[in-house]
Subunit: 363 residues, 4 copies
């Protein structure tokens, strides 16, 4: 049973290989009558596309999205929304040397072992290019969330050991402006400068480095998340871990919370009108797997990109020693382009649970 | 859409509240002809049950499992296996004070907000008692994995800031023996003693503390995991995050890997016969979301138990200030009993992907 | 991938063999706060249980249902509702002769071939006893539908070649009274008498006979059904065809409609206020797979029960000739007891689509 | 929850409106290494496309399929296969009169009521044009079945009251030749001529007529079908009922079987070597929901096409009386073009169950 579908009620299925004709996505379950702003979808894709700055790959793809179905006169119709992103820069010859050789810490070997056949051009299906399809669908999820007043914001919180301070209390509009003013997409300008210098040095070394992305969600209604397996943070975690290069996920107090005592960790409810607030938010906006109305926050760890500009020892499909030459056009650090992917996947999870929650009680 | 089902082909649905008649599980999709060792299932449940030692809750539940269907003459028949665990120690009066008051960092408020009705007795559905059903089903998953030679082992790798050293190269049989010789279920005896003393002190303070569990999987066949969303580690992550009190998941190099350079992080393939091995294993046995035959390893972070023996300020359902009295019978640290839950969920994920992989190519 | 689950949002999973410990069902997705009338559930089961009259099997089972979870103080809580029906009359010795012999037109051979192991006692999982679990869950579906004003009614419309006239315009309350006044459950008393005499004669011959059940649904809201695959009638059809012994399904004009001309078959809309009505209803209340507010009607064909009181030639598991002795306690005609199964499955489909429709457009 | 996905392991999701940019399908779960014969896929589409003969609509669409992903060097790779069929003949002005008026026995009203918005051009999503996507995916399913030796054949068994005799014992290759020699696609040449004359007369009247399609499957392995809900015939039934205009489904003895006695209906096993055969086949090749190795046979009833060349009274969206003018280009009888749709859906069901059965027992 293949695994190219994500979500239950707001459900996407992606398709496409890095150097095939096109990649794309079908979104099934988008409620009817939602205004579909194609410019917004494109602007989201532009944040993920290659060639944006000196610290991203210099490969050129316009990543222009085309909507094939599911909208009419600018609105969703309740039928499947298919979106296509043609592949333009297909220089397959660049990849001919990969035909038979397994790149270290890539998916070449495992795809070959699993399927017995592999589109080796540019990583084929295992390429992070697939995430463009997610970003397109995630943009529509964001439009749905926006309709309900829910806001999502992610930024680069760490590159290597360089950590950004915690997010300020600025509005998400303000945070977005600050973030987009630097090419590393960190909401703290001073840290951003350090990160950019560091990545640029790494790039000149022909090396790569990992990083972290922190994401917050505000104005999430109380009640999203479905016990016991489809807890909101469990679905967020799966969504993040399904992104290429992600090795870790934590929410609320996360790994640090495992070192704390209950007396310090408990989030005390404050007596007041309206939905309850808590004094602290170690729960990260989710209790018992269900959103409690507080800010949701989580962090995602990305390993360093496996493609480096050094020669590396490896093996070929026959198990014989071989060498990988360092060449090509790749990102020295994936997190600046992954910010919008994290937001897209979070938006897809939220949209799905927003719809799922509509049947939690009789009306 | 409710969320009480986990898995696609090896699929469980659990039911039951902490103080209802019984909890239980239906396992649908277990292949026929698998010998079902009921004693083994019970022995797994015994590792999770309350009242095992001075550092677990003193509540008494024998957690005796009864198989209602799906087996015949000691083997699975391919039909649904239903298992029932009656609730014995139902002292509901202990919980009458919870009727109307929201316990901090519990699910009382969110269940009430989501459903508008709540079985408040002992946490109802949100109680970790539900995980006994997972352990019963996970035991059958382990029997299936054993049939295919796959081994799973988890242990307590941290309590508060006390960290165990990395797992040795001992066999899993040896590791199990060592682990079960101490009540905290850590595979390092010296660390185990520190952990036990620390938890006992916490308990005497009426407080609780978090911890971490590390899990390894050996002899996993190459090819498990379904790109692009149902990557093996994504499903493991969701499985772990669906366990009560879990706040974080990482695999392979995890969060530390996000600080590394690609040149150090890449796992170099070694030329040899048979399935390729790698010099290092920062990939944690999974590349491109697919198992590569190396040891799979991941860690899970648990927050401290929310129920403490101190009085706490909180609110009631009307939003008014209220006080929670510290009383009852609860765990000072959840990880010793959670080891078998982590193993059970990992086994369920592996069993599911083992079956899913059977259709990856034509035969 | 096993197939013991039905429905998407209002979802049941059944378990249990004819002569095992118990059969049962988990219903996941029932909205919270629905009053759960256990007496009503039991009364539905009583309409399906054996031993009701001279024209049903004389086997004795009280089919007493026990709710294990998911309700609190008489209402659903939004968590899984598990229901158990213990097996009482397990005389397994009656079936020892089936160990190795394949009964004609039963599932003995196919289960053996598929799974390589078979609980031969009374048909095991393939026994229609499993449908008691469906009736229990269907009763809760009916309670949900009733909350929304939707009414379902089925009756025996044919036994052998004896056909009942089309249903009158009586209210469903009136139809139910008329139907329950005769043991064959036909809404036309005169036809009922003919049917009963005919079945009684068949029974005395040691033979069996097939029949048909017609079902109508009134006050169904406009909009249920999900194009393009989960059309309302497609899901109704699958539900009916999943019932033991069903060989055919038709809705609206059905097979006769295939002989008609479009000019006669088209249902002309009538200009009026409120939801449009049509002059005729060859569409059977469903257009484009979506309910249109008119009465939904469909018919289900049941083959004759395969167990007859005659000796029959057959084979054993080795492929050798063998003989089946005609003995045991079986129904001469299954339709009187199947009426409530048809209603239950229809109710499950409607409940599922009622919930699914809640996300069709933004609000 | 939308319903544009069909199948579990061999799973398709279709998209597209009649007069949008394109229609298409993603097939997820096709096993790797299957040779993908694009010419065969196109030849299947050619059997469904409009404008084939005097008894089909004169609309012109080449229905040229393009594969976007999932194949490499002529074989499936185990990744999603996306196929696109551009819409060419989009004369939307033809349909402007439908903007606000509900055509009788079409889906105009129900789509409007369900979604509150409707692509009215040519029926939009409710157009049978969507089935071209199914035929493309079904062609790949047929290639998979062919790999395993399974054969599917359907033909027009009735037009109005004109019934073809039962299928002969000819090979499927022979039956296909005979069928394709006439434009109505009936395997009996004499009946075909009657049908063609009849349809041509209907067409000249500006009217339409219904019909039936019979389908057989040979060399189906024993064991396909998943009790209790996903019985093979239940999934076949749902597949057929999801096709536009289908009002009925029966398999094996079907509706006639409901009039028979058990003593006549039981299929007696014949003692012989190899897989058991039965003397008769009223079971239609399926027992207990599982294929038994005998020929599978079922029939599908299609209502007459709703679009007729007569003026008809109807209403508009405001509920006011309106008139539909008879014009446009439509089929007088849908069954000749639907034969390949029936085969495609049957192939999709078989392929899905073939994969599902791979996990029925341990190996």
């Amino acid at each position: 049973m293949a695994g190219n579908t994500f979500g239950q009620l707001f459900r996407i299925t992606t398709f496409g290989e890095s150097h095939g004709v096109a990649i794309g996505v079908i979104l099934d379950g988008c409620p009817a009558q939602l205004p579909i702003d194609v410019d917004f979808i494109q602007s989201e894709l532009d944040k993920r596309k290659p060639g944006q700055s000196k610290i991203t790959t210099q490969r050129k793809e316009s990543d222009t999205v085309q909507i094939l179905s599911g909208t009419f006169e600018g609105k969703s119709t309740g039928t499947p929304i298919a979106m296509l992103i043609p592949n333009e820069d297909q220089r397959s010859k660049d990849y001919s040397h990969n035909t038979d050789v397994y790149r270290p810490s890539h998916a070449d070997y495992t795809y070959d072992a699993k399927y017995g056949i592999r589109d080796y051009r540019g990583g084929g299906r295992s390429s992070a290019r697939e995430t463009a399809a997610r970003v397109a669908a995630g943009a529509i999820a964001k439009l749905l969330l926006k309709h309900y007043g829910i806001e999502i914001f992610a930024h680069v919180s760490a590159v290597g050991k360089i950590q950004a301070p915690n997010l300020s209390g600025d509005s998400i509009t303000e945070l977005l402006v600050t973030r987009e003013e630097n090419i590393v997409r960190c909401a703290d300008p001073a840290t951003a400068n350090q990160m950019i210098d560091f990545i640029d040095g790494i790039r000149k070394d022909g090396d790569t480095v990992g990083g972290k992305i922190n994401c917050i969600i505000r104005n999430c209604p109380v009640g999203l998340g479905e016990p016991v397996f489809d807890k909101l943070h469990a679905d967020l975690g799966k969504a993040m871990l399904s992104i290429n290069a992600v090795h870790g996920f934590e929410y609320g107090s996360g790994f640090e919370g495992s070192e704390m005592r209950g007396s310090a960790h408990n989030d005390i409810f404050l007596a007041n009108e309206g939905a309850p607030k808590t004094l602290t938010n170690f729960s990260g906006g989710i209790q018992g797997g269900i959103s409690n109305g507080m800010e949701i926050s989580f962090s995602v760890a990305f390993k360093p990109v496996a493609t480096i500009m050094h020669n590396q020892q490896t093996i070929n499909a026959a198990g014989e020693a071989a060498e990988i030459k360092g060449k090509g056009r790749h990102d020295p650090c994936v997190v600046p382009r992954a910010v919008v992917i994290v937001e897209a996947m979070a938006a897809l999870v939220l949209a799905d649970h927003l719809l799922r929650n509509k049947t939690s009680k009789i009306d």
